[in-house]
Amino acid sequence: MTPGPRAPGRSLLALLLLALAPLWLSGCWDNVDVRDRAFVLGLGVDLTPEGRVEVTAQMPRPEPGSVSVGTHGSVLALSAAGTDPISALHNLQGRVSRTFLLGHIKAVVLGEPAAREPVVVEHVVDQVLRHPQVDPGAFVMVANGCRASDVMNRGSAEGTASALFAGSALEKGLLGLNVPQSEVWQFLRALQTPGWEPVAIGIRCRPDSLEIADAAVFKRYRMVGWLGPRETRGMLWLMGEGEGSVVEVPSPHGLGLVLINQVTARFRLEPGDPPAARAQVSVSGQLLHKPERLVTITHRDLVALNSLLARRIQLEARLALEKLQGVFGADSIGLGRRFYFTSPYFWRGVNWEREYPRLRVEIVVSAEAGRKGSLR
């Protein structure tokens, strides 16, 4: 049977609906020209002595034909206070002739007092981190020993704007940074997942530069404390991260340096009362610098060094775990999440807040460091 002629009205109607459908979306009528945009590169959130929230926005300085794009001199930081971050941002908007565009934010930096205030963090999460313009790949940081506005007003040692420095260094995963990857999406996911607490990256103000170091531990919407460099790296070992770290191995023959190339962490969970877990951390790396007093290195020396390396890594992991379990009670590694996924029946009947500090974790480390060149 041959199909009959198509009604011309139907295709016309479909075409009309298709043409009209985008009118409900945003379009050229509410478009802001690029000349009227202020590209916010970094956002700092502080708490004022009066208890108000102060927001500092770092944005490019309007300079015709500027060639020094992204340098500290090419950006400016403006601050304004409000009852919450969004009202502070609105107040700040009143002082700037251009509309803020949050799509290029590289780092959201919280001052430590603000990070320790759950209401402020909750507002930051709801109003900034969940803002539709904010890139989920931006980094969440906490200023260590200074205000967030100080971070925004400072440049890196080579003169890069602070937000771009932080974004660039963390995106590239520079060697030896030893900080957890805490992007916006990871921070939000940790907040939403049972048995997992978020962490943020620490950033310190030096007299003339900035330094990325340490990790800020959160318990829900409140920062509970800092992990030092060794503890931060210990946490990374347990997370199966930390590639690019350089570990010092003290041996009877002197100090050896090992560059870690690969880290894996596997957990075997034992639900019970109290629950237990066994962490199997495997590390492989490259011996950068042999102990000074070893003239030549033999296979037996290398085995001994590997043993010392494993012990060192185990120690750092143990330090991190003890602090997270004993001091903060914050499951930043996400052990509870693993129980939640692997033993849902156990998870249903357990109070993880109470059980987590009691959790027995056995840490087993196997390390294998190789060496370029010949072995005797």
Partner: protein, 574 residues
Amino acid sequence: MGRAARHRPQQIDPQAQEAPDPQAGLDLADLNGVIEEFKRGFGSSDDVVVRRFFLGSARRIRLILVYIDGMVDRRAVDKDIIEPLMTARPQGGWPKNRSALARILAERILPVGEMEFASNYGHMVRRLMAGNSVLLLDGFPEALVIDTRMLPHRQPEAPRAEPNVQSSFEGFTELLRTNIVLVRRRIQSPNLRVRVFSSGHESKNQIALLYIEGVVNPVLVQSMLSRIEDLGHEAHLFPTVTQCILKCEARSPFPLFRNTERPDFASQELLAGKLVLLTDNSPFAVVVPATLWDFFRTPEDYTRTSWGIAFLRLIRLLANLTGLLLPSLYIALLSVNPEFLPTYLALGILALREGLPFPPVLEVVLVLLTMEILREAAIRIPPILGTTLGVVGALILGLALAQSRVVSPLTLIVAAVTALSQFVAPAYEVSLTLRLLVWPLLASAVAFGLFGLTLAALIMLGHLCTLHSLGVPYLAPVAPLSRSILRDWIFRVPVRRQFTRPEYLRPVSRIKQKPPEPPPAPSGGQRGRPPETGGVQGDERPPEAGAAGPAGAREGDSPDPGKKGLSRKGVRGT
């Protein structure tokens, strides 16, 4: 022999011959009446020459020779027509019967290659206007139409619109007969059919339809013939308007037929199973059906390696996409969705745009319009002033725009890359289509950013899917997907491995070339080969060894191994 070897139109204007002729009743035997009719019909046209003379020395048989000055070979008229007729003295004298006399003139006296009899005035005038000479014999009711055409034309030159590096430097001319010869020279096959039609009430312009019988799908030929028969206006006075044969051109901005100036490309398409239309007075052939991908192919594609061609075709496709989408993408990213730009690039653009007076949309529109004006000016400007245009366009305008900070340098770069990319397509008509489509895409990008651009691109893709060129899907062989997609699409298998013609053309003969025969089985140690045939080859093989295996049998039974080897080599080397 020269003129005798000329192509003779096989079919000329059947409709016009059937049409009622107002002078049908005019007796061609009455020379005075014919001359009166000429005077009435041609008025004061001084280029119509009417030469009166007598046959031989006897002054009793009157003749009239009519031709149009400038359209005939004067030497041929004088030496091959007038001189033999005036000096002829038959031994038995001239016969009284005019039909017998006309036959003697045609068969013995006039040493010309082509001749025919025109039985009515209209037919005679049409032949006269085509550049033939007409000889009228007093008392004979028909006119002798003698082919003495020598129309002014230029010699084949290198194609201007389709320049190339490594293929033929011969292009079509404005003379239909020359163009047909250029194709025939490349396809020396008796199966090449040439059907000539004339159209237009006054212009009588000729169209030739070329195809290869036994290769082309007869449905395509019938479809094209029916379209040609539907014509009958002055559509072909302007040569490239032959394209109106494909009636759907007004509904789509995309070209549904490929214009080419190159006889090698036209011949190649004929061999693939397509039709070629040649129009008198036009140096362009129209190749139908055409798919979108045909516009990215050149004859040069078959003179280089497969990898090189794949790379070049990919570049052409990417360049055309760039030419189509780059301005819209630039505007969408800059004006509507700046968050998608890499941060450092965004900051760089922002620094460049600081203090500029116009928004990016206006800048792009201004620069693209300027480019279009420059392009049109470049076509119309006399070649001697081309340098001036370069200086004005590139140096003064470009530098002034950039230095006066009226337009961002990035916008100039985008416009320049767009303009360059649009010229990469081997076919000019695609370049025009791209230039046209840039504007609606730009509008959609301005209105809805990347979303609008995606929507517009999808609508365009949907439209492409609905197009057909003479019944062949426009996106074939990609949509509908054909098994031969990789045979000669972006990637091209080596020519020696292209055994079949495109499926979507439904050719009568799918086999383009026979696959090479398997090589002769090597001697000795061959798995599965009977040991008794091992080590015996060619002529040394005993007759019974030929029965051992099929390959061995073919090789051994060949009466002329040398000829067979040449044939195989020829296939490989094609």
